[in-house]
């Protein structure tokens, strides 16, 4: 708190004020929509196709994440770290 009573955001704390409302809204929406529907194993044939399986794009996403990490500031790809500087 500053001298004039205005709440001062400490340096380095920019993430949580931004992220928490979004997190809470997203989580509420997800759990509201999710409900308690149970899909039986014999009903899963559509879910087992490659287009419905997140692992299908794993290798493509690895390359995309590496490219994004070299170009985009707001990207958390490739484990969050940086690559070399030749492409930076």
């Amino acid at each position: 708190m500053s001298d004039d009573g205005v709440r001062v955001r400490p340096p380095g704390s920019m993430i949580w004020p931004m992220a928490w409302p979004t997190c809470r809204i997203t989580a509420l929406l997800f759990f509201a929509v999710a409900g308690c529907v149970t899909v039986k194993p014999q009903e899963r044939q559509h879910l087992s196709t490659p287009e419905m399986t997140p692992e299908t794009d794993a290798l493509e996403d690895t390359f995309s994440a590496h490219i994004d990490a070299a170009r985009r500031g707001a990207s958390n790809g490739h484990g969050g770290g940086g690559g070399g500087c030749g492409c930076g």
């Binding site: 380095g12 879910l47 995309s64 484990g79 070399g84 930076g88």
Partner: protein
């Protein structure tokens, strides 16, 4: 004052049974669990070759890679290995390295990356671990991680949690001599920078990454996904080669960064239309004041049983970091770059600037199952596929537009 006797730890007689090697006991438990778990019907080994290509005005990346996974003997233990080579060619100073090395020649740098992984599916539990080693002329990276996931409610919910740690060493190729010197950030002189240890004054970048995932099957054709990731980076985070852009001032960024990403998404299959729709959105925030939004939609269509077409469109936008100055006028500060000492910061990094991009793309995948079923001599192709991908990036930054392509060939054996 009592005499100081040397302390010798003695094991009590008959106490030897407590001296169990606990790591071995843990391994024995995992082994026993592994043995009693029901054996799945199928095991699949897979080999994948992939060539990636990235081309923009100043930079070209050619990346061949090979990946092999082996079920030993089935999905209770899957071992994987991957090797990739990054051949990065830069034709202009805009790509960075020539600012330090001088000269107008095309600069090509090679990066080698090897990854070893192990995964295990034990009933409703999934365990995984990996180690990755990556090296290039001026960068060395080691990373390892563990992941844990569990299916719940008859596989209608999957929860996952992962942690990885990366330890990177930064170097700078010295002007004209080609010698390699540790790089600790623009605010630390070359003579004060050490290639050993960690903390300020060291070229060590540590990256802690925690991610959690939630997948929910809402309907036999609808899948809901939510992923969140948090990264903490500590160490040099600025490019050693951009002083040419800054009138001789070294690029100087803060040494700490906290990044947060949340990605909700849906996969919805429409069987009658042989179509699946996959919209998702990523929100990124960090403590450098940067935000990013990247909505994307992918539409998969099956014109025939063994052919899959995918069209995608992605939009990306980011704002500037707190220390970016649109006028490019920086002073040569002499201390660390922080929010309180913003004048010490300097950047010519596109990653710190505001820009956006549009990226449409197409993909064609041909599954070999049909061919394998029709010809006895080609039965070995069963489970294999070839995949061709092309994406075009319309980028509103100094690198300009980019073309991204890949060709993948995968076989089950």
């Amino acid at each position: 004052m009592t005499a100081h006797r040397p302390h010798v730890r003695r094991r009590r007689p008959g106490n030897a049974r407590w001296a169990w090697p606990w790591p071995l006991l843990g391994l024995a438990c995992i082994g026993a669990l592994w043995l009693v778990t029901a054996r799945p019907a199928l095991a699949e080994n897979r080999a994948t070759l992939r060539g990636n290509y990235y081309r923009e005005r100043s930079t070209r990346v050619v990346q061949p890679m090979a990946q092999i996974t082996v079920d030993a003997p089935d999905e209770r233990l899957t071992l994987g290995a991957m090797y990739l080579l990054d051949a990065i060619s830069s034709a202009s100073i805009a790509s960075g390295t020539q600012a330090a090395t001088g000269g107008d020649n095309v600069f090509t740098e090679l990066r080698h990356e090897a990854t070893a992984s192990a995964e295990s599916k034990l009933g409703e539990w999934y365990l995984g671990g990996f180690f990755r080693y990556s090296t290039e002329t001026d960068y060395l990276s080691r990373a390892g991680g563990l992941s844990l996931a569990r299916d719940l409610l008859q596989r209608n919910i999957n929860l996952s949690l992962s942690y990885s740690f990366g330890g990177d060493r930064w170097f700078r190729i010295q002007n004209n001599t080609g010698a390699r010197a540790p790089w600790c950030g623009g605010d630390i002189g070359v003579n004060e920078c050490s290639g050993r240890g960690y903390g300020r004054g060291s070229n060590f970048l540590q990256v802690h990454n925690v991610a959690a995932g939630y997948t929910h099957t809402l309907h036999p054709t609808v899948l809901l996904q939510l992923n969140v990731a948090y990264s903490h980076l500590r160490g040099p985070l600025d490019n050693p080669y951009r002083e040419g852009f800054l009138g001789g001032i070294e690029e100087t960024h803060p040494h700490v960064r906290d990044r947060f990403v949340i990605t909700p998404g849906v996969r919805w299959k429409i069987p009658r239309a042989r179509t699946a729709i996959e919209p998702f959105y990523s929100l990124y925030v960090d403590d450098w004041g940067q935000r990013g939004h990247s909505p994307e939609i992918r539409v998969h269509v099956r014109p025939t049983r063994h052919i899959r077409l995918r069209a995608r469109y992605g939009y990306y936008t980011q704002n500037a970091t707190f220390f970016y100055r649109a006028d490019g006028q920086y002073v040569d500060g002499s201390g660390p770059c922080t929010r309180a000492l913003e004048l010490n910061c300097a950047t010519a990094d596109v990653k710190a600037m505001p820009w956006d991009s549009h990226s449409p793309g197409v993909q064609l995948t041909w599954y070999f199952d049909g061919v394998a079923a029709g010809h006895r001599a080609l039965r070995w192709l069963e489970g294999g596929f070839v995949e061709v991908t092309y994406n075009h990036l319309f980028q509103d930054n100094r690198f300009g537009n980019a073309r991204v392509g890949s060709l993948a060939l995968s076989f089950a054996y």
